[in-house]
Structure formats: C-alpha cells, structure tokens
C-alpha cells in the first residue's frame, strides 16, 4: 500500500531507495495511483516553470544598507547633541549674565520644547486613531 506522502516523496525524489521500488511496482498495477502520479508530476513541472519565469526585481541592497547604517548614525547624533546641550546649559548657568536674562531665556526654551512635545503627541494620537490608516493608496 502506497500512501499519499510516499507518492509525494517519490515525485520529489525524497524517497528511500527501497521504498522507490515499491512505488514503481505499485505504479505498474494501480491505475488510480498512476493517474495521481501523472497529475502531480505535471503540476510539479508547471510550477517549476512558473518559478523560472518570475521576473527579477533587482537588488534591495541600497535601502537595506541605508537602514542598517541608520541606528549608528542616530546614536552618534544623539550622543553629540546631548554633550553639546549639557555643555551649553552649564556655560549658560555659570555665565555672568543677569538672572532675569537667564530666567526669560529659559522660559522661551522650555515653552518651545513643551509646544513641540504636545504637537508630537497630537500627531501620534491622530495616527493611532486614524480609521483610514490601513487603506493603501
């Protein structure tokens, strides 16, 4: 008795030699098995031909290389920015400027940062609740 799995392995050249002989003997005597064998062998040839005719889409290396280099770029940028900002704050606080100048400048900077943050949070909220976000153009 030849199982469907054995027939598949036979067609795909994945059957052990001793079972191959059993399948070949069964194909001689079993009409239904032979019909299945011819059908699935033909299907295999046609599908393989499909693979051979697939178009070459070109390389994806350029976008991949950009993407894998980006984290390092961000790390260096953020690290450098943090060091410069820390130094700037230190230099500003220890400078000889009047206190009212320091307070008003700090208020402008903190206010701008808060506005930017709230705009970013609004945008994030819009993105999450956008009912059309899954629709492709």
């Amino acid at each position: 008795m030849i199982t469907h799995e054995e027939l598949m392995r036979y067609i795909d050249g994945e059957l052990e030699p001793e079972r191959m002989l059993a399948v070949e003997a069964a194909l001689e005597s079993d009409t239904e098995l032979r019909r299945d064998y011819l059908l699935y062998s033909r299907m295999k040839t046609d599908l393989e031909s499909l693979g051979e005719h697939m178009k070459d889409a070109g390389t994806v290396w350029t976008p991949v290389s950009r993407a894998i280099a980006r984290p390092l770029g961000w790390i260096l940028f953020i690290l450098g920015a943090v060091i410069w900002m820390a130094y700037g704050v230190y230099a500003y606080l220890t400078s000889a400027d009047a206190m009212w100048e320091k307070l008003s400048t700090s208020a402008v900077v903190v206010g701008l940062a808060m506005l930017l943050l709230s705009a970013l949070l609004d945008r994030l909220h819009d993105l999450k609740s956008d009912p059309y976000r899954s629709i492709e153009r």
Binding site: H4, E6, M8, E14, W61
Partner: protein, 189 residues
C-alpha cells in the same frame, strides 16, 4: 558544515564584529531566492520587494541569534515567511492576482513552436491564479518546494514543522490546487 555554510558563517561573524559591509554578499546571494518566495506568497511584485527588504533588515538585527552551525537560507526564509504572513494579515486582501506580465517574463522557450509557447504561458497564468485561491499554508509549501526547489528538510526548518508533515502538507496543497483549478473551470492537466 559545507563550504557555503562556512562562508555564510564567516560573513555573519564579521557583521557581528561591527563590519556591516560584509552583509552585502549575504543580501546579494539570497535576495533572488527571497524575491521568488515573497512573490509566490504575496502575488504582487511591489509588496514582495518590500517584504524582502524588511526581511533583510530584520535578519541583520537578529544576526546575534543566528546559529552559526546551521544553514543561513532556511533561517532567512523563516523570517521572510513571517514577514509575508504579517503582510497578508495586515492588508487583508490576501494574494494579489495582478496582470501576469508584472510578475512573470514572457520569454519563449528554446525549443517548441509559438503554439507550444502560448500554451505553456497560459498554463502558467492559470496556475498563478490558482495559487491565489488556496490557503496560505498550502501556497507556502508549494512555493518553497516547487518555485524555490527546497528539500523537505529545508522546508521543515523554514516552516518549523517535521519533515513528515511537509510531505503530507505537499499532498494536500497539490490536491487543493487541483480543486481550485477545477473550480475555475479548468480541466487540469
């Protein structure tokens, strides 16, 4: 470990040592395989290209989890498989049957006349449409076996099922494709 595995393992080691330029030979070696599998899974050239791109980016990020004693190709295909399944779930449209000339070349065979070429071309178009009508599991195993030519062992590694299940799934996939073709009114073969 064969020669290819040893070469791939060496490239991965160099990437892990902080030399991303050594990732390029891996991308160039495996992208044709990945593109054929993604196209077979998704049915759409643009979506397939995006899936392949994302797969290589994810694979790079996960290189430290790659077992250097094993083959790179099934490992990569496992990531690609998940990427394609995510894409199919995300867009809910499933396999896209677009114009056949956007995914398949129409080159003529070296032997046989124009009639034979036309018949073969039509058979490919019908099969392509049939592939879109079967389940993702069935399409996946057919793509890996027939379109990409992976062995049962490699399919088992890429899909995470035992080899016996691969044989069984291939039978059900082939039968499902035959039934899909019949439902389309095609007498196959």
């Amino acid at each position: 470990m064969n020669e290819q595995q040893a070469l791939d393992a060496e490239l991965v080691r160099k990437c892990l040592a902080g030399q991303p330029r050594f990732y390029e030979p891996l991308v160039r070696a495996y992208e044709p395989v990945a593109q054929r599998v993604a196209l077979g899974m998704l049915g759409d050239a643009d979506a397939a290209r995006d899936a392949v791109q994302q797969t290589f980016i994810k694979a790079y990020a996960a290189l430290d989890r790659f077992d250097l004693e094993r083959s790179f190709r099934p490992w990569l295909l496992q990531i690609l498989r998940n990427q394609c399944r995510d894409e199919l779930r995300r867009r809910k449209a499933g396999f896209q049957v677009r114009r056949i000339d956007t995914v398949l070349t129409q080159r003529l065979p070296a032997e046989g006349g124009p009639d034979r070429a036309r018949r073969r071309s039509e058979a490919r178009e019908i099969l392509w449409e049939g592939l879109g009508r079967i389940s993702v599991d069935h399409r996946e195993v057919l793509v890996l076996k027939e379109i990409q030519g992976l062995s049962y062992g490699e399919i088992a590694q890429a899909t995470g099922v035992p080899e016996g299940t691969v044989a069984s799934r291939l039978f059900h996939a082939r039968r499902a494709l035959k039934e899909a073709l019949e439902a389309m009114g095609v007498e196959y073969p």
